[in-house]
């Protein structure tokens, strides 16, 4: 329990840092871009919207920095992230429609990549020195390719040329979204290419980590013991793998941030209606309230996912529990 409490307090501090950075950035940057922006936009958006942006950024000109900071927190806790300049909709509303897509896409890909990569890594570690080792440089190559580049190539080859998969969007335009079978099937069909891209890019890390841990684990006495007892090979491999997988699970929370960073751009390539796509539109339009809102929501989601991964580790490794009892 102590370990979980420590992690939780880390995430609370991280959330606070992210929010404070978000508050300070527009103020620290040369030329105060938000002020300039509000000036530029005054003719185009209603005074109410200007007021909403000011409120969300805590930019009341008559207040000192501390009061502005307090005001910013107040608005944040009320769920007011400001108004998107280009879309003229509250940022919170825009985000609510985009977040589920991203969470679904990245969640499914990360779980798939972790499971496949760990299994492959366990086998690579067991059969070390065999021909299987030639997979390693190939996997490393895929890992070194930027996500968006791999996405583009995958799109070009399997989508535009071979026509195996539909290429753009998250579901077929002829299907109405809802909880029915047609929609789910369409989701899966359209999700395949983005998921394949993210899995290909992120799998090498899991595979190599697991392989190296497995090689270390095979040297342990308990593995030799298992073989000496005459257990079938499949069981021995499972036995070693179960112990080797712990560091991978411990690393899961670290890796999520990296995967999210890469996967955001995959959305751009496949025109997936998630947060990444939104972020890039916001950047191109200099829609600062939207950019900052997206940064906050991504950070909070990643922190939540990290906590989940830590809980998983806590459940899997009994040592974290006995330590608490002592």
């Amino acid at each position: 329990m102590r370990m979980l409490a420590r992690r939780l307090s880390l995430y609370v501090v991280t959330a606070w840092v992210a929010i404070t950075v978000n508050f300070l950035l527009p103020r620290l940057m040369p030329g105060n871009p938000v002020q300039t922006l509000i000036g530029k936009m005054t003719g185009q958006i209603t005074p109410q919207q200007v007021q909403a942006i000011r409120l969300a950024f805590g930019m009341d000109l008559n207040q000192n920095l501390w009061d502005q900071y307090m005001g910013y927190w107040h608005q944040l806790l009320l769920g007011n992230l400001g108004v998107s300049i280009t879309l003229s909709t509250p940022v919170a509303t825009v985000l609510a429609s985009a977040v589920p897509w991203t969470v679904g896409l990245i969640g499914v890909s990360t779980i798939l990549s972790f499971i496949i990569g760990t299994f492959a890594g366990a086998l690579l570690g067991w059969f070390r020195g065999s021909r299987l080792d030639s997979i390693i440089p190939v996997a490393t190559f895929f890992q070194a390719v930027p996500y968006f580049f791999l996405g583009t190539v995958v799109l070009l080859v399997f989508g535009s040329n071979l026509h195996w998969f539909p290429v753009l969007g998250a579901y077929s335009p002829s299907v109405t979204p809802g909880m029915h079978w047609d929609f789910v099937l369409s989701l899966i069909r359209y999700g395949q290419l983005p998921v394949i891209t993210i899995v290909l890019s992120s799998i090498a890390g899991w595979m190599l980590g697991m392989r190296n841990m497995m090689i270390t684990m095979i040297a342990e006495d308990f593995v030799l013991m298992a073989v000496a007892k005459g257990l079938p090979r499949r069981k021995v491999i499972m036995h070693a793998a179960r112990n080797a997988v712990l560091p991978s699970v411990a690393n899961l929370s670290l890796a999520i941030g990296l995967v999210v960073s890469g996967a955001l751009l995959v959305e751009l390539v496949f025109n997936y209606p998630g947060v990444g796509n939104l972020l890039l539109q916001a950047v191109q339009n200099e829609d600062y309230p939207l950019i900052q809102g997206i940064f906050l929501i991504i950070t909070m989601t990643v922190l939540g996912a990290n906590l989940l991964a830590d809980v998983l580790y806590f459940i899997l490794d009994p040592r974290t529990r006995t330590e608490a009892a002592v």
Binding site: L10, Y11, V13, T14, V17, A18, V21, N22, L25, P26, M29, G31, P33, R128, G129, D133, P137, T140, F141, Q143, A144, V145, P146, F148, F149, L150, T152, V153, L155, L156, S160, N161, N212, I215, T216, I218, A219, V223, L224, V227, L254, G257, L258, V260, S261, L264, L265, L279, L280, V283, Q284, E286, Y288, I291, I294, F295, I298, T299, V302, L303
Partner: protein, 320 residues
């Protein structure tokens, strides 16, 4: 201690070769480029030919020239970011690991916070506020990237420092009365070299990815040619859908090659630190020659002595 034994497995040689090639390209690339990469003087959308090895863009620019010129900005930013981040992570990691106590708590918290915040979104937010002058400045971009890339190295270096701080030679230095700064700089730091090298390679790899991504999103100056900008223009002109692979594939392949080269060198360092991994990577021919069982045996992974020593009797069966 003798001179530093450089790992000489095939992985490291191939990796170093690839990285070396691109380092040379960084220096000579802009001189080799046949044309001005920005000049719109050729017929648009040419396919690769003898006069334009990689064809031309929709604006009639020579793509091969862009690729050669773009190497420099990409590598310079990555190097700046990598070196700055590594210096920072070494300072934080060694201080936290050696001093311990409150200092360690504070510094560890700092690096854990930076590890938990997703890097790319933070980079995009900071970069979107940069004025145009900052976006074309390789040093400014490198600094910002290093801000998001130092924490991992600090963590690894801290762990390594903690394992070193109670060794006898450090204890001896402490008893002699060496100052803390001297112990950290001259006793501990040299023993961190392999970890430091691995951390530097990893950070450079990360920085290349981060810089190219920022450029691809359109957040670096479009007046500076780098591989990300090339892909930005290719995407903006729908090159992937128009099947103009020669426009967007070469920069991507270059990035992937450098990344693979750096990662291969890193494997070598891993094997240098952990001898068991070294023995695990040997081919069966080398194993037989070094007197190891041909198939890896269960129960233990032997440490290949031949890979450790370079005495005359073992060099002929050394790992090549």
């Amino acid at each position: 201690m003798s001179a530093v034994r450089l790992p000489r497995s095939p992985k490291v040689l191939v990796g170093a070769g690839i990285v070396g090639f691109f380092v040379i390209l960084t220096v000579v690339g802009p001189w080799l480029a046949p044309d001005n990469p920005s000049a719109t003087i050729f017929p648009p959308n040419l396919t690769p030919s003898a006069s334009h090895w990689l064809g031309t863009t929709t604006l009639g620019q020579d793509i091969f020239s862009q690729l050669l010129v773009g190497a420099r900005a990409t590598m310079v930013v990555a190097l700046v970011a990598g070196v700055v981040a590594t210096i920072f992570s070494m300072t934080v990691g060694v201080a936290a690991g050696y001093l311990g106590g409150k200092t360690d708590d504070g510094l560890s918290l700092l690096s854990n916070v930076f590890l938990a915040i997703p890097g790319l979104p933070l980079l995009i937010v900071i970069d979107s506020y940069l004025p145009a002058g900052g976006r074309s400045n390789a040093f400014a971009i490198g600094l910002i990237i290093s801000l998001t890339g130092w924490a991992w190295g600090a963590r690894v270096l801290r762990a390594q420092t903690m394992s070193l701080r109670n060794r006898d030679f450090v204890e001896a230095a402490r008893i002699i009365g060496e100052s803390r700064r001297r112990i950290m700089l001259f006793e501990i730091a040299p023993n961190l070299l392999p970890v430091l090298a691995s951390s530097l390679l990893f950070t450079i790899l990360y920085s290349i990815g981060a810089y190219v991504t920022l450029a691809y999103v359109g957040l670096t100056s479009t007046a500076v040619w780098n591989w990300g900008t090339m892909m930005f223009w290719a995407q903006a002109n729908n090159a992937p859908l128009a099947n103009e692979w020669y426009w967007f594939v070469p920069p991507g392949i270059c990035i992937a090659l450098i990344g693979t080269g750096l990662a291969l060198m890193n494997f070598g360092i891993d094997e240098f630190i952990n001898p068991r991994l070294r023995a695990a990577g040997l081919s069966s021919k080398v194993r037989r020659a070094s007197g190891l069982p041909r198939r890896p045996r269960l129960g233990y992974t032997p440490v290949a002595r031949s890979a450790l020593r370079t005495s005359p009797t073992t060099t002929k069966i050394g790992v090549r």
